[in-house]
Amino acid sequence: MNSLSRRKFLKITGATVGAAAVITGSGKALFKGADKVNKKIVKGIKKIPTYCDVCFWKCGAIAYVKDGKLWKIEGNPKDPLSKGRLCPRGTGGVSAHYDPERLNSPLIRKKERGEEKWVAVTWGEALDYIAKKMNKIKEKYGPESMALFSHGVGGTFLKHTIKAFGSRNITAPSFAQCRGPRETGFELTFGDVVGSPERTDIKNSKCLVLIGSHLGENMHNTQVQEFAEAVEKGTSIIVVDPRFSVAASKAKYYLPIKPGTDIALLLAWMNVIVKEKLYDIDYVNKYGFGFEQFAAEISQYTPEWAYPETGIEPELIRTTAREMALYKPATLVHPGRHTTWYGDDTQRSRAIALLNALMGSWGRKGGFYLPYNYSVPKYKYPPYPKPEHEPVDNPNHKYPFAEGELLSTGIREATITGKPYPIKGWMVYATNLTQSLPNREETIKAIQNLDLLVVVDIIPSEIAGWADVVLPEVTYLERYDELNTASFRQSFISLRQPVVDAPGDQKPNWWIAKQLAERLGLEKYYPWKDIEEYLDTRLKGAGLSLNELKKKGVVTGPKEPIYFDEGIEPEFYTPSGKIEFYSLQLAEAGFDPVPKYKRPEQPPPGYFRLLFGRAPVHTFSKTQSYPLLHHQMEENVLWVNTDVAKRFGLKNGEYIKLKNTDGVISNKIKVYATERIRTDCVFMVHGFGQTSKQLKSTYLRGASDSQLITRYNTDPIMGGTGMNVNFVTFEWEV
């Protein structure tokens, strides 16, 4: 059907399960003290290396325990990701441990779903209840009717249990609601994905182009560190954003683009670069496929054509195109991360990939390096049962290039319709689905069709409020997790280990997954006694040991060549084996072989496009209650251009509400009237306006973009949900 390789995608998600039979028995007894540390209080300061979990970047860190109490956490200087410095979320991560609103014991719902009325139960009762319900679902509908939504490394063992149970319906919103279109667009072009951490060689770039990517507000640690390094070195920075971001303030050129028109700009840039023969001719000749057809196609997209679409003056388009060409191949057109904007996102990502191809930056210093990961043998488990049905998320391959990861919205859809087969159970780990999926009502509708909703979380999140069973997990500071062997400039392996005891009756994810498996009669899939045995077995397979990692926290591999110019043979895993300027596989599937621009729908009079993004002190909707982070940003604000604010009589700091074109009204949010945004859009930071009554510190603080995202454009190529397509107006009744 197409060449997108599952293998490449799996590299990002870090699946870790293998096959072979090693079976030992294991009882159902709850064993006490899972991941307990510090049996007696040690006076003085103890430094314990681990890796962070406040976001998915997984920075190596050193936790300081003073007189037996967690004091502070710093970057591990030996870690290649943090280089000894954490981001503000990582630094404030200690307060995850101290969060007074943490879940303390397992809960079973006693009233209607969403009423947040619970009864506290023991772990044994909660797990028995879940196992019974899961077995019922299996009997009635088959094991595939149990789905898992799981974000981050902590979900490793729950995924294992669900696969052993017989379901492959395992998903995370980080694909179809985030970086999916980027990965598909790059894979279609170069035959490989960008990955996480991104293989962007920011520190060596001489020209860095950021399109909507707001590094500095988006605190992906290594990237921000390298961005600052680039600023210091005098890298020519070009920022394209409807909002004058922090990154824009560091730029040589700021292009205040009309939202939704990025493809027009990209096509015009490529038009100039091809017409003026500014591209890397040798590179394109050697590695390019279908360049002539591509060049012919884009010859129509002049800067004059792009001007009325984008609002960017033709001369500025030409100047910036020439600027990029001046520094090639060390010109990095950053692929972004959260790329689900308008529904044509794969094609926009492909246009970004093609512009990089013209610069010859893929595989070159200052562009995209070729990453390595530390080879650690997988743990040998018995083979999983073969599922009878394909995953439920993408029936008949409606989205032909949705490969490698499942569509969370597809699983939600199947839960609502019961087609192609019913989904009756959800387990949710570390993803707040009412905030992370577009159209909250659809999520709630899907939940009504479930026989079982289990949420494993640290805090009483919004999604936990809808659960039948809530399982309180320990924080990353109180547990072991799967090893981090992410691909990077240099291979490395890092360990997360407990640094303090959990304050209550919380348990680590591995323990929950193992206990549940044992109750489901799947004990043969857990031949290890505890995670220390599991980790030590894996590490010994790589010539290391758990003891060594516990002391060092991180072990790095040898430095290896990362650029073509260092002797790596270029390989492109596309059907042509080359960089596909013209994509036959897209054409065969009925899509544009060269990206085309389509004018986006415009806001009705008096309405503004709702844009959302990140703040440096919060991750998604997960950290708003962590005391240290909470006090840095207790609620979000609404960015409105000062002229618009004047026209509508909005005062800085006053509370207003927003109403979208479907009549949905937001919670109140403070006006931030500023010169730093266009007049046709408004902006807010994602993750606020939470509705969990049990999470008092976040309850109705600020507004929720997710609530207002009732509309989304689905990317026909890979099923991503473009969410920047909602329009809002102001309401004064607060």
């Binding site: 004091w71 502070k72 956490i73 710093e74 970057g75 410095r85 954490l86 981001c87 503000p88 630094t91 404030g92 200690v94 590094l215 500095g216 507000e217 605190m219 640690n221 921000v224 560190q225 961005f227 600052a228 390094e229 600023v231 210091e232 004058f244 922090v246 990154a247 824009a248 303030s249 560091k250 700021y254 205040p256 440096p616 002190v617 005391p627 240290l628 982070l629 006090h631 840095q632 251009n641 000062t642 500023t674 010169e675 730093r676 945004i677 266009r678 007049t679």
Partner: protein
């Protein structure tokens, strides 16, 4: 004699507040208070906008009004590096120093004394950088001795353009912002 100062490169700072949070954990700053903070100054008209982001704190002034206004001598100039400190035991919490500080750098700690940035003197005396400097992911903050012409801070001030906050207040601030 040493004269400690902080030189902060506003062209690199992204305003992420890591310095603020690191200070909170390092110094056990009570919840809801802070010893340092981020200020953003926007000028111009969209899309021609300038933005300066500054990590701010006590300026450890050479002529500190908080010291002269203190009735008990609790506010004082430390004998190492000219750092302005508060002796908690001598402080009566009268707020005279709060009123005299043009930078609004002080607050009354819930335990009743005036509190503020100490330049992490407990770390500096061990040869370490202040917590805010050592944590910054952009490496935009530098700490050192202005009396030493070979120090990084002295060199940066020689090579780069800079400003201080409210120099007109005449307090001789020792936080410098590279522009």
């Amino acid at each position: 004699m040493a004269r400690y100062a902080m030189v902060i490169d506003t062209t690199k700072c992204v305003g992420c507040q890591d310095c603020v949070i690191a200070c909170e954990t390092e110094n056990n700053v009570p919840e809801g208070y802070c010893r340092d903070w981020i200020t953003t100054a926007t000028s111009g008209k969209f899309p021609t906008v300038q933005l300066e982001i500054r990590s701010e704190r006590c300026n450890h002034c050479s002529e500190p009004p908080c010291v002269t206004s203190c009735p008990t001598g609790a506010s004082h100039i430390h004998d190492v590096g000219g750092v302005v400190l508060v002796n908690h035991d001598e402080c009566i919490g009268c707020k005279a120093c709060l009123a005299s500080c043009p930078y609004d750098a002080r607050f009354i700690h819930p335990d009743g004394y005036a509190d503020k940035c100490t330049f992490c003197i407990h770390r500096v005396e061990k040869g370490e950088d202040p917590a805010c400097v050592s944590v910054c992911p952009t490496h935009c903050m530098h700490f050192g001795d202005l009396d030493d012409p070979e120090s990084e801070v002295s060199k940066l001030l020689k090579e780069r353009k800079y400003h201080t906050n409210l120099p007109e207040a005449g307090t001789g601030p020792n936080i410098y912002y590279l522009i």
